[in-house]
């Protein structure tokens, strides 16, 4: 199995922070997002208060991978989660995508090479979220 992250939504942590603040403040979401983009430190502060249990705030993004794997792994993954999308590109070659909530939940619940690789992707794309998720587990 080989998993390569090829693309993701820009500024995913700023969007997660914007989603968090949208639910609890009277400020318009576009204004919140603009302010956060201009202030990366604030993004980190907000993310550190993340309640992962309220998972919908982690869904405003998408990560896309090129997956080289046998069909069985894809089938197993689809049986474990309904929130991953797959497109067959060729023999044992797939385009795979999911949002961060689906990725986080899969990597927490499913042991194995795919879970490990997904965790690596998350560390690259959303390091603060991963830090918090790791802290939560301990």
């Amino acid at each position: 199995m080989r998993l390569t992250l090829i693309a993701h939504t820009p500024n995913p942590e700023a969007m997660i922070a914007a989603a968090m603040l949208t639910t609890t403040s009277g400020v318009k979401p576009s204004t919140i997002y603009e302010r956060l983009l201009a202030n990366p430190e604030k993004v980190g502060d907000v993310i550190s208060r993340l309640e992962v249990q309220h998972g919908s705030i982690l869904e405003h993004n998408r990560l896309v991978w090129l997956l080289e794997a046998e069909e069985q792994l894809v089938l197993d993954t689809l049986l474990k989660t309904k929130f991953f999308n797959f497109t067959r590109l060729g023999d044992d070659e797939w385009l795979m995508s999911a949002n961060l909530r689906a990725v986080l939940e899969y990597s927490e619940e499913c042991e194995g090479e795919l879970g490990d690789s997904l965790r690596d992707s998350m560390i690259t794309v959303t390091p603060n979220v991963c830090h918090f998720a790791g802290r939560r587990k301990t």
Binding site: S25, Y33, I57, R62, N85, T87, L89
Partner: protein
């Protein structure tokens, strides 16, 4: 109402990393993602949005945010504004006074909000993948859709076409997408006019 495509995962971003593949655009749509800020819409409108289950929402909470000066934060349907604005206003005044009175005596906001009307303004973030968005446009751009959600979806479509013209030039109400009306006996009977409106 203000609609803004805040962020999206573009087809260019994805496919520049792939070798040429023989896969239909329809199949690839589900890998695209679009996040909108939807501001100054009614709760009546947001109720319709959340019926689209293949989507993600982060909406202003009436548990955390106290509604102040309700009268300045309601959406008034055009039909009401023309025919009976006073009847509407009197209900808003009453709801506003009752809400404030409940909050003032210490009723939690989560309970006081029960008296707030569907007209109450709300703001939210909504994310859909490309396939869910096509379905959303199919239903909500239809001439039979309720005016507010139709206005919203038409503006969303305009912005999505700007960033992904190849994938969404064929997006619009289902009659435009399918070249037939799926509304059965409820058809508006103006399919030709509607199709012309959405043609790029």
């Amino acid at each position: 109402m203000k609609v803004r495509l805040l962020s999206h995962l573009s087809s260019k971003n994805i496919f520049s990393h792939l070798p040429p593949v023989n896969v239909s655009k329809k199949e690839l749509l589900s890998h695209l993602s679009f996040t909108f800020a939807l501001e100054g819409i009614s709760r009546a409108c947001s109720h319709q949005l959340v019926r689209h289950r293949v989507a993600s929402f982060s909406q202003q909470s009436q548990r955390y945010i106290q509604v102040r000066r309700l009268k300045n934060h309601v959406i008034i349907p055009p039909s009401v504004a023309v025919k009976s604005p006073k009847v509407f206003d009197s209900l808003i005044d009453e709801a506003s006074d009752t809400y404030q009175a409940l909050v003032d005596v210490g009723i939690p906001r989560e309970d006081a909000r029960f008296v707030l009307p569907n007209a109450t303004e709300t703001n939210l973030l909504m994310t859909m993948d490309g396939r869910a968005l096509m379905h959303f446009f199919g239903l909500r751009c239809c001439i039979r859709a309720q005016w507010e959600v139709k206005e919203l979806s038409d503006e969303m479509l305009r912005q999505v076409r700007e960033v992904e013209p190849e994938f969404f030039s064929g997006a619009g109400p289902y009659c435009f997408q399918l070249d037939r009306c799926p509304e059965g006996r409820f058809t508006c009977g103006r399919m030709g006019v509607v199709i012309e409106k959405y043609r790029v």
